[in-house]
């Protein structure tokens, strides 16, 4: 049983007709066009799209780092008015602070909330244990490998017990092997914590392996052109034949958008 028997009537996150434009030298470009989306509590949602489709913009709007031109973002029914610790972000580069140890990084957000030292330490250590890095609590960031850094970044976010964990291509900079391990780890963590996760990626295999649901964004203007629910038990393997089928379908579906994106890039250059 993954979800509570009685689901709350209200979704954890609601996007209502979110629209965003960018001003460029060649005029106003509509990046997001009336994007609407609901995310249930405890759901693992993957936002999938080619580069330049506006998924990072949408992500930033959910995080509160950017404001939409029109539409609304609601977390538990409350409109979002800026970044906050109820929606913590794991960035692609981890954005860990090199002047702090792994433990110091995980404690950072807790200390901003003036949580007493002992409790802070306890919660941070628990988060590090969850990502299996308790042994490296005292290591500085440059002493850790790429995969370990992303684990610390995940622990730093989970320690704050956010309503939403937002992940922006967190494994894109890792090698294939490490990424595979991180996929297993993230599934394990998700099953254990029941954390609501929104995971942005351009990698189809990653999206279908991790997500309960994959929302596919189209290229410019970004709209949600398809939603695919993925009912496979966890932990899911990378070569699950069922997932392969969905993958073939989605890759074909994304192809034209990806080609448009590449052409546009070539024209720009």
């Amino acid at each position: 049983m993954r979800y509570p028997a009685v689901r709350p009537a209200q979704p954890e996150l609601s996007l209502c007709s979110v629209t965003k434009h960018f001003e460029t030298r060649r005029g106003r470009i509509k990046v997001l066009d009336r994007v609407s989306l609901n995310v249930r509590r405890g759901e693992f949602l993957c936002l999938l799209g080619p580069s330049g489709c506006g998924k990072s913009t949408l992500f930033n709007i959910i995080a509160g780092l950017e404001a939409p031109d029109a539409g609304e973002v609601l977390v538990e029914g409350e409109p979002v008015a800026g970044p906050g610790p109820d929606r913590v972000v794991v960035f692609q580069d981890g954005a860990l602070f090199p002047w702090l140890t792994a433990l110091g990084n995980v404690e950072f957000g807790l200390s901003l909330q003036r949580i007493p030292r002992d409790e802070r330490r306890e919660r941070a250590m628990a988060a590090l244990e969850l990502v299996r890095l308790a042994r490296f609590a005292d290591a500085y960031i440059h002493e850790l490998s790429g995969g370990m850094r992303q684990r610390v970044a995940i622990a730093r976010a989970l320690a704050l017990e956010p309503k939403l964990l937002l992940m922006d291509e967190p494994f894109a900079a890792l090698d294939a092997q490490t990424r595979n391990i991180m996929h297993e780890e993230l599934q394990r963590i998700w099953v254990r914590t029941g954390q609501t996760i929104i995971f942005v990626t351009h990698n189809v295999s990653e999206a279908i392996r991790l997500g309960d649901r994959v929302a596919v964004l189209s290229f410019r203007p970004g709209t949600i052109k398809r939603e695919v629910a993925i009912h496979r038990p966890r932990p899911r393997l990378a070569d699950d034949p069922h997932l392969m089928e969905i993958r073939t379908f989605l890759v074909r579906d994304l192809r034209s958008d990806a080609e448009t994106a590449v052409e546009e890039e070539l024209c720009d250059g």
């Binding site: 995080a63 509160g64 780092l65 970044p83 906050g84 610790p85 929606r87 913590v88 972000v89 960035f91 580069d93 954005a95 602070f97 090199p98 002047w99 950072f108 957000g109 901003l112 909330q113 500085y140 960031i141 440059h142 002493e143 730093r156 704050l160 937002l166």
Partner: protein, 253 residues
């Protein structure tokens, strides 16, 4: 060969070269003193407490001058990093003033403040403040933007962003700026003290010249050199290396 052995060797070579040149007798000994003359003079300056008095005055001036430059430069640099407009307006001025030899302010400083400590302070501060401000601005501007975004999503606001993220993240560049500022302040002060004859190392130098006492001039130069190296090595360099190592910019030796 260990680092200190190399340093010792280089000092020995310098001393040998000096003594060798002195032995050739190209210049008379009162113009080009022997190392032993300089050591004896140094001893005399220590014994008569002249050196102690000079050290006290110079230290007081450099500490005050550097403290003012560091705090002022930090503040100015932070303001410029914060506001694009302010940076556009003040940036060229700071760059210009930074490249100006601060001793050129000396005549104006005397007209404005008179022959006193305030004139010295003005020259010292105008030598260091802008270098520190420029280094602070570029240091703060160059921190990875994801640090600030990450901190913001974890709930950091306003002053917290500065004290907990921006300043620590910029620390390596801030230290480089401070080190540069220190060396500018030190040079400016030495130049100004040469002209402002009131105690201090510069005063001892000028006195040596007036008395045609080359040994004293050299002795004081050795002390000034030693002070500069000491502060740079023992203080700035050490802290800078420790910080860079922690940030992983430098592998530990």
């Amino acid at each position: 060969m260990a680092r200190w052995q190399a340093s010792a060797l280089s000092a020995a070579l310098l001393l040998l070269l000096w003594q060798g040149l002195a032995w050739t007798g190209v210049w008379p000994r009162y113009v080009f003193p022997w190392p032993e003359d300089v050591v004896l003079t140094l001893w005399r300056l220590v014994a008569t407490r002249e050196l102690a008095v000079a050290l006290l005055h110079t230290l007081k001036r450099i500490s005050l001058g550097f403290a003012l430059s560091a705090s002022g430069g930090l503040l100015l640099g932070l303001c410029m990093a914060r506001s694009r407009t302010l940076s556009d307006i003040l940036g060229p001025m700071v760059q210009g003033l930074q490249s100006m030899p601060s001793i050129c302010w000396y005549p104006l400083a005397i007209l404005w403040f008179g022959w006193n400590e305030r004139a010295l302070l003005f020259v010292t501060v105008s030598g260091a403040l802008f270098a520190i401000a420029a280094a602070t601005e570029s240091g703060v501007r160059n921190i990875p933007p994801s640090y600030v975004r990450a901190a913001a999503t974890m709930g950091a606001r306003g002053w917290q962003l500065y004290s907990r993220v921006v300043l620590p993240a910029a620390l390596p560049s801030l230290l480089t700026g401070m080190r540069l500022g220190w060396s500018f302040a030190w040079r400016s002060l030495m130049a100004a003290e040469l002209l402002f004859l009131n105690l201090g190392f510069g005063h001892l130098l000028a006195m040596g010249r007036d008395l045609a006492d080359a040994a004293q001039v050299m002795a004081v130069i050795v002390v000034i050199l030693g002070m500069g190296v000491l502060v740079d090595r023992a203080c700035f360099s050490r802290v800078e290396r420790a910080v860079r190592r922690r940030f992983g910019y430098e592998m530990s030796a």
